[in-house]
């Protein structure tokens, strides 16, 4: 590995992070969820949530956890990307040596090989993305399952499950059950927020991750194809 290759990866990592953060910040679902916290009156659905601050707080917590997971995914993705490149470089080292002995410029050669590999990886990632889009429904269900186990300790899903498991508070009260603050609260929640809506939000947030990946993938593809045009390696002497 030489300096030029490292600086190339550094720039690439920076661009990748910027793009993923931009994808996170400007994606529709983020703006929507964020809008509920910052400007409640702007959202017409908010009349439901205004009356349930406890639920909002859990949603906020959920969003924070989601952002953490998103950043973790980005970092792991970039790390993996880097190691795949090293791996391919290791297998192409003889080819690299041959080009150098033919009189190739080391900098343009590095760029050329890196770009070739990037194109290959981006194309394969794009194919994976298309496949994911085609078979997204079962995958979404799977992701939702994983997400449930990942964010289990937060109150959001435990409350949700309690709500789903519990009989309707009306029925409890009608059957002569205790009229406690908990019963009132759960009745309140049960009547206002439907679990279906929560699942929709959940799925939207996962859609956001895929959206971000798509933005990153397609823009990096464009970026690399542009670079390839600018930096075409010439064999100075065969």
């Amino acid at each position: 590995m030489n300096g030029s290759l490292f600086s190339f990866y550094f720039v690439l990592t920076a661009i990748g992070l910027l793009l993923s953060v931009a994808a996170l910040k400007f994606s529709l679902s983020f703006l929507q969820v964020h809008g509920w916290f910052t400007d409640p009156s702007s959202n017409k659905h908010l009349t439901i949530y205004l009356e349930a601050p406890a639920f909002l707080r859990t949603l906020e917590h959920y969003e924070a956890t989601f952002t953490q997971i998103f950043c973790l995914f980005s970092m792991i993705g970039i790390g993996l990307f880097f190691f795949i490149h090293l791996f391919i470089h290791y297998f192409r080292r003889r080819e690299f040596r041959n080009y150098l002995l033919m009189g190739e410029n080391i900098f343009s050669l590095s760029i050329q090989l890196v770009i070739e590999q990037l194109m290959l990886l981006t194309i394969s990632a794009s194919i994976c993305f298309v496949l994911v889009v085609l078979f997204s429904r079962p995958l979404m269900d799977l992701l939702t399952e994983w997400e449930k186990t990942l964010i289990q300790p937060t109150t959001f899903f435990s409350e949700l499950e309690v709500m789903q498991e519990m009989d309707s508070p009306k029925e409890v009260l009608e059957a002569g059950g205790p009229f406690t603050p908990r019963t009132i609260h759960s009745m309140y929640m049960y009547e206002t927020v439907s679990p279906k809506l929560i699942t929709v939000i959940q799925k939207r947030l996962w859609g956001q991750i895929l959206e971000g990946l798509f933005v990153f993938g397609s823009s990096s593809f464009l970026f690399h194809s542009l670079l390839l045009k600018w930096k075409s390696v010439r064999m100075h002497q065969a």
Binding site: E95, R97, N98, L101, Q237, A238
Partner: protein, 190 residues
């Protein structure tokens, strides 16, 4: 990945290829072919050809494609590269299958033979020969040496043979102990 030093910054004056050929033996055992190639390139501003077991070609191209590539790079204005390649390869009497294989899949002797033809096709002035020469049986080595001597006499080709302290080469015009001695030899020849 091998890191090569760039010598070109140390030598600003360009050395033109001499008018007469010659064979030089480098007796430094620690010298690698990469170092030698880079040093000669820094002296002459041209990358020399090589003759070694791992052929310096584009690995994913076939023998024929490599011939086309190298010939078209060496003679950019030549219009009939295919005929040129055909003429160069015909004396070897190779089958079509052999030409469609990669250099790696050929037997070492044939690969070296093809590299020699390829270098002649490209009109190289300098050729670096790796240490495979000393591993050959005596008769085969004699054949190669005969070929080298004829080329060095008839053409301005300079052959740089890598060896070690024990290498005895009566065929060599001069035996050199260090790489840097090459520059003085080239200067004298000019």
């Amino acid at each position: 990945m091998t890191m090569l030093r760039n010598y070109s910054t140390h030598h600003s004056s360009r050395i033109r290829p001499p008018h007469t050929g010659g064979i030089y033996l480098l007796k430094d055992a620690a010298l690698s072919i990469e170092q030698t190639v880079n040093y000669v390139a820094s002296l002459t501003h041209h990358f020399p050809g090589t003759l070694q077991k791992n052929a310096v070609v584009v690995p994913y191209l076939t023998v024929r494609e490599n011939f086309y590539l190298f010939a078209s790079k060496a003679h950019p204005k030549h219009r009939k590269i295919d005929l040129m390649v055909e003429d160069a390869v015909t004396p070897l009497d190779l089958s079509e299958d052999t030409l469609d294989q990669s250099f790696d899949s050929l037997p070492p002797a044939l690969s070296l033979r093809l590299q020699w033809v390829l270098n002649q096709l490209c009109d190289r002035d300098f050729l670096v020969i790796d240490r495979w020469l000393w591993e050959l049986p005596k008769e085969e080595r004699q054949d190669w040496v005969q070929l080298f001597r004829t080329s060095a006499k008839e053409t301005p080709l300079i052959l740089i043979v890598l060896g070690d302290e024990s290498a005895a080469a009566p065929f060599a015009d001069k035996e050199l102990d260090a790489l840097e001695e090459l520059s003085t030899v080239f200067n004298q020849k000019n």
